[in-house]
Symmetry: C7
Subunit: 274 residues, 7 copies
């Protein structure tokens, strides 16, 4: 690949008006394990793929509780995600201490986005390498936001990020019109089906995914593994081989990218757990 002199410094614009370092940070989100969010009028479900790196370990936490009314699922650099969710937790605590009411979700999302924007405009920092699906419930109802490394955020009815999230997005697009009035159980079911799409035929079990829910009268919490397995069994969700053409494309792409970078350690080792 031709050497690009505009893509090593976060404060350098390319001639076409792009910030490559910010775009590269967004690649980190695409490399992370998949996360999914969807919401009805009253509930938000956040789910993530959570394979443990070995039999010996518990899986790494990809879903964090921020407050009773807010949770977050991440894809990308876990350490960056953890630091940002701690920031969100502090903001919630400070707000409720000061105003004696829960921090509105939209407001928190903007603060989070502003924090990310700063990292795209200082030469001694780097953009965060993590995408966050923020689910929350406040006076204006249930919300689902996606905060990305560029400092942008978007509101969604349902969304999927991370590796192989395209298949999940396709599923969600097919179904999203029914989500608004969906029951709590159907929402979880759709989350599980969407998640399965990202697995490329691997068998779905409660040990490789995390499901969390937040709703009217139901504080944000992660479902315990038994419940998740029971639901999987109930819904007869199993992984199936995705159509060859869909699955092949991203892999070939990833392989091509890997080939262009020197000194790349074994990607299978997933050293930063993105």
């Amino acid at each position: 690949m031709f050497r690009n002199q505009y893509d090593t410094d976060v404060t350098t614009w390319s001639p076409a008006g792009r910030l490559f370092q910010v775009e590269y940070a967004m690649e980190a989100v695409k490399q992370g394990s998949a996360a999914i969010g969807l919401r009805s009028k009253t509930h938000v479900v956040l789910a993530s793929v959570n394979k443990a790196s070995s039999e010996l370990s518990s899986h790494q936490k990809k879903i964090f509780k921020v407050d009773d009314h807010i949770g977050v699922a991440i894809a990308g650099l876990t350490a960056d995600g953890r630091v940002l969710s701690r920031y969100m937790r502090n903001e919630c605590i400070n707000y409720s201490y000061t105003y004696e009411s829960p921090l509105p979700v939209g407001r928190l999302v903007v603060q989070l986005a502003d924090k990310a924007q700063v990292c795209t405009q200082r030469s001694w920092k780097r953009p965060y390498g993590v995408g966050l699906l923020v689910g929350g419930l406040d006076e204006s109802g249930a919300h689902l936001y996606y905060n990305c490394p560029s400092g942008n955020y978007f509101e969604y009815q349902a969304f999927a990020i991370g590796s192989r999230s395209q298949a999940a997005k396709t599923y969600l697009e097919r179904k999203f019109e029914s989500f608004m009035d969906s029951s709590r159980e159907n929402l979880i079911k759709d989350a599980l089906f969407a998640l399965r799409e990202t697995l490329q035929g691997e068998k779905m079990t409660s040990s490789i995914c995390t499901i969390s829910i937040l709703g009217a009268g139901e504080a944000f919490h992660v479902l315990d593994q038994e419940t998740v397995q029971r639901l999987i069994n109930e819904f007869e969700i199993v992984g199936e081989e995705p159509p060859a053409d869909e699955a092949a494309a991203p892999d070939a792409e990833a392989a091509a990218e890997a080939a262009t970078e020197g000194a790349a350690p074994d990607q299978g080792a997933a050293p930063m757990d993105i």
Copy 2:
């Protein structure tokens, strides 16, 4: 392209007295989705193209309320635009708290421009990658300003920025003499017609544009989608294929630019939503 040693650092002058990094940041504005502003003696209309990135998401906010008497439409890096509009909001609040009167629009525009200028003269920062159409109403009447990444600002009768804005500017230049005495409704109509020019034949619907208005006795607000759709129908605005020569030129240009940059991720993915 010949390698240019003067264009990677915002504090480096080229031999011909240019600051390339500032010019590149202005390219980011050109890549953003289009925004349009126009004003009569008493009203300002700000409009923007606002395609949602997927069916699942609401569109991203490109028009922000700053105060009852000031609004802003942006093109370029949304995160930069959001941070700047928050700055404007704070300035308005502080001013009205201190002086018990609304901050004059021209004054705010100068402060905004000064903030942008600082980012063109410090080596550890980067110029903002966003253009802002600031509409406002104060004792001196209705105003429309354009603030650009270089720290410059201009007052306009009507203006369009962002991708394919040239077609809209052509429309506005043909019509602007009538704007000064235009009615509120005609102003909105012209905004919609101008916006249509940027769509390259795509069908105009209320779901891909945002219209906001501000006027004597009418605080800045965004029109709801139904109203916009009703107006579109009423005015029989539909997209039409622009003349081939006009449309082809910018695209060819963009393609050429893209070709000269290495490591460019798929532009269609529009990763920073500019």
Copy 3:
């Protein structure tokens, strides 16, 4: 062009004892639209070419009032010029607040020059890219100074800066001996004639120039467009084709310079309004 290792950093001397970055910043002044100043014993006239970038916009302000007794006309980066004129305004306010008398012009000019010098001796800054013609009236009479990006200033009887200013300088040199005792009206007339010299045959109208005056008993103010047009008509000033050899030279030069720089966006777009 041979690559020069001494010209990208403002704190790096060339072997011949030059600071190229400062010289390049002075190029920015030459690229800006023309500004002219001249003075009699009692009056100072500042004038500038002020073409609006489109029919839709008012022209950009190139002449700023600093105080009742001081005004400034700029050529080069408008944003830098605006920031510096704000600095001057603040200095005047502070001085008159402290000493209850207007700030002497020469003193302000030195402070302005010192501010510019600092930007030529810190690695994290860049020299200002703007030239300022400072006109003022104080106890020692009427003054005209030119402050340039290097931190130098010069006192002039009459001067012209910016693009094609050489023709205006030639005019002023032919006439300057009469300026000292010139009447207010003749001073304005000469300003208009000198300005016409920079237009390369373009028709002179009040819409493409700004004239300001300051004199004994007459606070600094910009003439309104009607007055300017009346004077243009009265003096029968029209543009005339300049001799081919004079006009061609700078353009060829500019073209040559542009050709040597890579990645140069369309210069016609004049993105930074220099």
Copy 4:
């Protein structure tokens, strides 16, 4: 190897969304001498290979007591590990001083991870070059965490890090199901067997390993050398030649890596004791 422009600066993303400097720091952990941790319901055992660099020296400390209820075993840069364990010690002291109760293990591990994350996002620092196995006992039982240079942490039933840790991990994976209800003695025994796996046939003696234990009613402490030797004898643990194919692979890999770096001093000298 092709020169990689994205791998010398910790704040530079690669086009594929990776932070090479963080990955390289994780290599330092792999080069360090092996450390092993495992836990039952009530006890945690931390063990490390600890060859003295010469007969003249005592071995270097690789296991540190943090508090009565927390200990840590490191692999990688010892100096970084020591500085981090001192940090942990201070946090424990401050917590128990303020709250009069021991700092929960999980909480300390998060603070430690956050400290590591900061070093991956500042251009003037470097990521820590050390992995830490943190063993602790609190109200929620016995815990074993692995903190890595990326700012991530993982909870484990049993884990091994450092050079040739793969063989130990294989041993632990075969056995871990029995650990939860293991007796104190069996836990130590398994630690010794796992440690032996990393020795590549070298004879196991108390002089080349350190074993520490922490449990209900038993503050964190390192076993004295006599006890360790007695256990080795008791369990008849001796080193055995590992199967050729397993052992050869990592070495060949290491040799390949060494060959690609210029100016590499003799690796046998292990100059930084990683």
Copy 5:
């Protein structure tokens, strides 16, 4: 020219123990217009060549009053010289305010030299590009110092700096033995004759030179132009063609230097007035 890796950074030593950036800054002094100083027991005369850059301008000030008993003539970057002479002025004011006696000349010269030295030992600054001839009178008599960009200073009986100063130095060396007991008038006469030597045959007039004097009972002041012209006439000083070989050498040298630097703007324009 061979690329030199030791000459772009003021804090980098060359292998031969030289600081090239400091030497290059001293080149700036050589490029500046000539300045001359000489002294008797009781008087100091400072003189400089002062060609106005155009008929329209007054010449640029090259001689500054520091205090009643101290004056300075500069060669090189005028802006640097002005900033340093302001520093000297402040030091004099502070001293006399504190001690109620004038600041001894030698002491001020050391402070000035120390200020210059600092700029040769910080990576974010650059050495000053100006040489200063400091003339002063205190209890120890009349003094003449030369302060140079390296932070060194020298005491002189008479000295000349700037472009073509070698001819003036030759004149002064021929005559200096008589200076000590010279009368005020003869001192001025010799200054004018020495200055003429730097003019390369150009006619000497009061409009291209400045003469200042300081002596027992005579505060530092610049002679008015009439007086200077009267003296020129009285002494029958006219320029004369210097011997071809002497004059040619520096020019050829300058041309050679200019040729070795890329991107050099027209030197005739003398943009920084060095």
Copy 6:
């Protein structure tokens, strides 16, 4: 040698997880003149080779008293060693002032190591280029530590650092088992014999070595030259030609290293006295 892009910056990791700048700093220790330490139960002896650089000079101090109960011998950059021993002195004074008891040796050694670690993790510093043998006596007996530039430290029974220290280490390894119960005199004798091993056949005299001792009831002090000479005579220590193969190896190595570096001044001049 192949150019290595990972070895010029202390905060840059190599792909194999090494910090080359830290390793290079450790080379400085190897280039310094030899230092030796050994201890019995009750005494510590520190010794160093101390050739004066010329007949005119006294030798440079390589052994420093830190406190009555602590001394240090250095190899490498003397200036770095002196600064660090001053730091140790201050720590001892502060501790005994605060706690009215001597600072435990191990504690001081950790503080020293932490100070060195900081210099390996800040981009604007460099690792210290000195190794320190710290001898001390406290309630836990006599101690000998080696602190190295990486921020690591090791406890030793006996150790040697600096140029040709391998021969001394071989001697010490042969003998160290007897040191623990050695008498004060035998300890000194062994130090002298070990030191002799580093001399490559040069005659041992009191003028080229320094011997210091610290013990129960004997504050740290350097033996005077007469005593040392008396002991040398008494022990009949003379230098002897080391076996050719041992001696040749390091020299050839050193020559090879020197040959790979450009611009190396004469090494015989030993300019930094390492």
Copy 7:
């Protein structure tokens, strides 16, 4: 010469453990004019070559009084030397103000060396380019130290630094045994003879050297020129052609060094007076 990547930054170690920038700074000392120091039991004589750069100037001061009991002679960058001797002066004043006794020489020398060391360990500074011979008298007798740019210092009976100092060192080595009991006059005589050795056959006169003395009952002072000339005459010291081989070597070396550096201005001009 092969380009060396380790020699432009003071905080970068070479693979062989050297700091080239520090070594290069020591070259600056070698290029400076010679300085000599020698001492008896009761007196210290400091002498330096001090050629005025022109007939017009007094020579530059190379010997500075620090206090009544301390003086310093420098070789290398005079500005650096002056700044350091001012530092020493301040330290002496502060000490005697606080303790009412003179600052011991050795203590001052260490402080000076520590100040120099700091400049070898910060990336934004450069090592001082000056060597200092510090002579002093305190309760422990007369002392002569040499402080060098590396932050090292050495005590000497007699020493010479600067250009062609080798010849002087040879003289001093031949004679130094008699210095300890030398009379004041003989000490001065030997200083003059040693100085003559550095002159390469140039005639020795009082105008090209400075002699200073400090002794029991005799505060540090510089001998006046008449006294020095009288002594020269008395001792019949004249310069003599040094043996061709000795003299040629350094010159050839210098020429070779100069040839390897690009862009080197005329060395004869000695611009920094080193």
